[in-house]
């Protein structure tokens, strides 16, 4: 009933090929964007903006990047944290060494640096697959960690190995308040999500999916695996690199290599798996699950007024969080995005299911 597309006729190619072919989807997305851009910055508290929404959005961007590689192209990567680090440190070095460079350019160039490194570490994917590739990308992660912890040039000879980002100054305007930073990140995420959405339904995205589903068959029908796989690594690393630069500049402000260690890679991989492989929406849902749920679990007992010790709360947080991951993977192995799709199907028939 609610999601019925009856009567929505496609009379030209443009309307058939548009991003959201169903009217209800369009209304929903537009309403959501209005909410995110206009309402949230006005009503949300500083805590919600700075400690929840900004990290959630930035990690969603990184998850979209990883989803392109893992979900759409089928290449497992455990080097995402490292590629984020490349983005962060590239942005830092560009901003510190060329102070006049516009920060938007800095972020994009940081993404470009990550692209180069990502494509370089993607080369083994032409020969190895599956778990073996995961191990190869893990090597990238450790190498990059080592590089930023040991080579002093990258941290501008900082004595503690900790670097801090310059003020967020774009076109002479300094982003300082939480709402401004949130909007800056939101614009980045929306633009990149749109790009990702269009890439995956275009020729290049189809070549990724063909490679994922069966690489030999893809090769037979004329898809060059070199181009498909390396382009997936490159595009994915670009997204992840930009996310890394935003994470460092907008969220952390000051960071050390530990912020991008192997745990970050795992965290992002879990987001993609729990959210839904091969789904842009899934990247957002997965990020929400991994970022917001632990914070909620940590604060929930206090709201209920249950007097628990800090240690007990954090043990409960770990246990419940772990249990929920297992639960979701059992009831819906294809991720939260799939749950959303099922919900849409149900709404289409409601209230007369057959």
């Amino acid at each position: 009933m609610i999601y019925r597309e009856t009567g929505q006729f496609k009379t030209n190619y443009a309307s058939d090929q548009q991003l959201f072919p169903i009217l209800q989807d369009r209304i929903f997305v537009i309403a959501f964007l209005v909410l995110a851009f206009a309402v949230v910055p006005l009503v949300a508290s500083e805590y919600l903006l700075r400690a929840i929404l900004v990290p959630f959005l930035i990690l969603s961007l990184a998850a979209i990047g990883l989803n392109i590689l893992v979900g759409y192209c089928g290449q497992v990567s455990l080097g995402t944290g490292g590629f984020m680090a490349i983005g962060a440190y590239a942005a830092y070095n560009l901003a510190v060494r060329i102070p006049d460079l516009n920060l938007l350019v800095v972020f994009l160039l940081a993404g470009a640096c990550a692209t180069v490194v990502g494509a370089l570490f993607g080369i083994p994917s032409l020969r190895i697959k599956g778990f073996y590739l995961a191990v190869a990308t893990l090597a990238a992660q450790f190498f990059i960690d080592w590089m930023f912890a040991r080579i002093k040039w990258f941290t501008n000879d900082s004595s503690s190995g900790n670097v801090s980002a310059p003020p967020l100054d774009i076109f002479g305007y300094t982003f300082t308040s939480p709402a401004e930073k949130y909007l800056l990140v939101l614009v980045f995420v929306c633009v990149f999500a749109l790009i990702a959405r269009n890439l995956v339904r275009g020729a290049i995205g189809r070549s990724w999916m063909a490679t994922r589903d069966m690489d030999i068959a893809a090769e037979v029908i004329g898809i060059r695996p070199l181009r498909a796989k390396l382009s997936a690594f490159a595009v994915s690393s670009f997204f992840v690199g930009v996310a890394g630069a935003l994470w460092a500049f907008v969220y952390l402000g000051s960071w050390e290599p530990l912020a991008f260690d192997v745990n970050r890679s795992f965290q992002l991989l879990f987001m993609v798996i729990i959210g839904g492989l091969g789904s842009i929406l899934g990247s957002f849902l997965g990020a929400a699950f991994i970022v917001i749920l632990p914070l909620f679990l940590n604060q929930f007992p206090t709201w209920l007024g249950i007097p628990l010790s800090t240690a007990a709360i954090s043990h409960i947080e770990f246990m419940v969080f772990g249990a929920l991951i297992v639960f979701f993977l059992i009831v819906e192995p294809r991720g939260l995005a799939r749950l959303w799709a099922i919900g849409k199907e149900k709404l289409r028939l409601w209230p007369f299911p057959h």
Binding site: S45, A51, S160, P166, G253, E256, L258, I292
Partner: protein, 439 residues
């Protein structure tokens, strides 16, 4: 099928409720001063994090129970678990910020680095008692940071002074085994400077978080045979280091830990074999008989309101340090009240209080701390207050002092602090305050 869908929907609803619920905010009481407590009671750093947190919280409780608060204003506090992770620490800071806190005490150099920019914008004081960034001694640039009692540069300087007393350092080898984080890297700059002056050879041996895998590092030590090993570890890394030293039979007598690497949780796992291990004490060691300890038992533990599991924990090295950190927090608030009135003070007012702390020996004694804290006096140019320490040695059961007092050499430290702070000011576009105009 229908039921599974319902379960799925319920689980999803729970997750959504989480997102919405996280938006809620608690409102602080109007007639209380709020002191946030960032702790880590879980994870690899818990053995050391717990006693510190217990000491800190117990002292706040004691002030409420014994004195009825600070000049009649009760202290409210709330713990937040950081797990020693920087991103979680920043989240805790944002969470507790809405309650109008006056002083944060993050107990992590990494979190200190992340918060340094934020506290200046939010006008909240950042106390880093015996840790934090060494260059924040310069209050003209770091107006909100207070690395009270001693920085890592002070610690490293005093350790070098101590080993230099045993014989000239020229041509000797010193190895620094350090936690590979801002905390462990902090002393390197000072040690390099000292190595240049004294002519010793410094070798740097990093240990990655969490520090349970150190075989390779100690094999290197076995090969190099350094004359001294300085240990800059935290959490399980410390006890692992001592065990590895025993395994490669490196003499414990030649090992010196910073004050975060010389407490009971570090030496107890290796028991008698840790005998002879030294550390620089931050003015205090394992002390249990001062009036403040007796008050703890009388006002809290006898009434079953203590934070630690057992009365025996009162007075352990890290418990004392937590207590001292809380005491300095309270004294800064008192100092602020002496100028601005006996009411709920703001972060800005407490910053003035922290910058004008003046605790002489008599005052410290009156507070019940005996000689655990050396007389300290802060000012705009000196946010550290005092930089004294002595060596204590583990005899298998107890810590005992084995040296005289040392004081960090400001002739060496000052130019380094100035250079580093100036670089920070330039990077952040901060105009340093003119300290001669501060009152």
């Amino acid at each position: 099928m229908k039921r599974t869908l319902r379960i799925k929907a319920a689980a999803l609803a729970l997750a959504v409720a989480g997102a919405l619920g996280a938006a809620q905010e608690a409102v602080a009481q109007a007639n209380e001063i709020f002191v946030p407590v960032l702790v880590y009671r879980t994870g690899a750093y818990a053995p050391n994090g717990i006693p510190w947190a217990d000491g800190y919280v117990d002292y706040l409780k004691l002030v409420n129970a014994r004195d009825g608060g600070v000049n009649g204003i009760k202290i409210a506090f709330e713990e937040c678990e950081t797990g020693y992770a920087t991103d979680r620490g920043v989240e805790c800071y944002e969470r507790l910020k809405s309650k109008k806190p006056v002083i944060f005490n993050p107990l992590s150099t990494g979190i200190t680095y992340a918060l340094t920019d934020k506290v200046a914008a939010d006008k909240i004081v950042l106390f880093t008692t015996g840790y934090g960034r060494a260059d924040s001694v310069d209050g003209s640039v770091f107006a909100w940071n207070f690395p009270l009692l001693g920085t890592y540069w002070s610690a490293a300087d005093m350790l070098v002074q101590h080993v230099a007393k045993k014989g000239p350092l020229k041509g000797k080898k010193i190895a620094l085994v350090y936690h590979d984080s801002p905390y462990g890297k902090e002393p390197i700059k000072l040690l390099e400077e000292r190595a240049k002056r004294e002519g010793f050879q410094l070798s740097l041996l990093p240990v990655t978080h969490p520090g349970v895998e150190q075989k390779a590092v100690w094999l290197q030590i076995r090969q190099q045979r350094p004359d001294y090993v300085f240990l800059w570890g935290w959490g399980v890394m410390n006890s692992t280091s001592i065990k590895e030293a025993i395994a490669v039979s490196y003499p414990r007598l030649q090992m010196y830990g910073v004050w975060w690497s010389s407490a009971e949780p570090d030496v107890e796992p290796a028991e008698m074999a840790s005998k002879g291990y030294n550390g620089i004490a931050l003015g205090h060691s394992d002390e249990r008989d001062f009036p403040v300890h007796k008050d703890m038992v009388k006002y809290l533990y006898d009434k079953g309101q203590g934070t630690a599991k057992d009365k025996k924990d009162i007075g352990a090295v890290l418990y004392n340090r937590g207590m001292i950190s809380a005491m300095l927090t309270i004294e800064a608030i008192k100092q602020a009240q002496s100028k601005y009135g006996k009411r709920v003070v703001t972060g800005e007012e407490v910053r003035w209080g922290a910058e004008n702390l003046n605790l002489d020996a008599g005052k410290i004694k009156a507070l019940g701390f005996g000689d655990m804290v050396q007389p300290l006096k802060t000012s705009c140019t000196d946010h550290e207050g005092v930089r004294k320490g002595r060596i204590h040695t583990w005899d298998g059961k107890d810590w005992s002092y084995t040296s005289d007092w040392y004081e960090a050499d400001m002739k060496i430290l000052n130019p380094m602090i100035k250079t580093s702070a100036a670089a920070y000011a330039a990077e952040k576009k901060i105009t340093p305050r003119d300290c001669s105009k501060e009152k």
